[in-house]
């Protein structure tokens, strides 16, 4: 049986394209945060929510064994659902310092939110325009980033913290 070269080439191309599409379909690029794990966080300066003269930077985080940076807002419903885990974490794990970054929110609403649900944060900063969130590779809120004292990202949580994420934070910081 004679098989022409052009048929072999066409067949090879078809197989190649099918393999590329098959592989492409299996890759999920949305909300992919694995490229940040193991990297150091960027330099930043975070002004306190109710005191413009007080601020922290990445240098301050080096003093903490672990820091959990949490982006939240009073208008964000999932932030309410995760808040109890943050409050528990602040009570249970003293070696984890929690930094809250109030995202595109009104100061009074944020303060009332913390009065109502409790304040688990060691420092609450403001990100009125959302620019700081970009330094941390944030898509939306709530999102949390766990860093060690070398400022290396250990974990990034997209969405609200739940029991599974909470247990994982405890495991990672043991």
């Amino acid at each position: 049986m004679k098989i022409s070269i052009s048929k072999i080439i066409i067949f090879t191309f078809v197989i190649f394209f099918l393999l590329v599409f098959w592989r492409g379909l299996k890759i999920n690029n949305n909300y992919d945060t694995k490229n940040l794990i193991g990297k150091k966080i960027s330099k930043f300066q975070l002004i306190e929510i109710d005191n413009n003269n007080r601020y922290i930077s990445e240098e301050d985080l080096k003093q903490n064994k672990y820091t959990l940076i949490n982006f939240f807002a009073s208008w964000c419903a999932p932030c309410r659902s995760e808040h109890k885990y943050l409050v528990n974490l602040s009570k249970e794990k003293k070696e984890i310092k929690i930094i809250g970054i109030n995202f595109k929110d009104k100061k009074n609403n944020a303060i009332n939110f913390l009065k109502e649900l409790g304040n688990p944060y060691n420092f609450v900063g403001k990100d009125s325009e959302g620019k700081i969130s970009i330094l941390f590779g944030i898509y939306g809120i709530p999102e949390s980033i766990l860093v060690d004292n070398n400022l290396t990202v250990i974990k990034k949580i997209v969405g609200p913290i739940d029991q599974i994420q909470y247990d994982e934070i405890l495991k990672l910081t043991q």
Partner: protein
């Protein structure tokens, strides 16, 4: 005197508007090459989502700081991965993506060449 003042103001207006329209074009080019990660198939230029609005502010700031287009793409890719840039930079991971059109073109030309030669030979015979 009045004419001089008028000409002076007209020059300022002309140069300012030219400069700002150049800046707008430059910004728009960057926005169009950035993917809105929380939207369905939209670029940052097309979207008014919270994420797109913030990215636009960051791009404007970085241009003001004197960063180049490439610097901005590298910065955003370091935070969100290559996925955020519509036109990825050439690397070992995506060399096939860049080379495939050229390879296909060469293959196509080779196939056409052989087919034409074969047809000519058949006609001669």
């Amino acid at each position: 005197m009045k004419i001089n003042s008028f000409l002076f103001l007209a020059c300022i207006f002309f140069f300012t508007s030219t400069y700002s329209s150049e800046n707008k074009t430059k910004l728009l080019k960057v926005y169009k090459n950035l993917r809105c990660l929380v939207c369905q198939g939209q670029s940052i230029a097309d979207s008014n989502s919270d994420f797109a609005v913030t990215i636009k502010l960051v791009v404007q700031d970085q241009f003001k700081e004197g960063k180049t287009e490439d610097d901005i793409y590298k910065f955003l890719a370091s935070k969100y991965g290559e996925w955020i840039v519509y036109q990825p930079t050439f690397s070992k991971n995506n060399f096939l993506l860049w080379m495939l059109p050229y390879v296909t073109l060469i293959f196509g030309a080779v196939i056409i060449f052989f087919l034409v030669r074969k047809t000519k030979r058949n006609k001669v015979n």
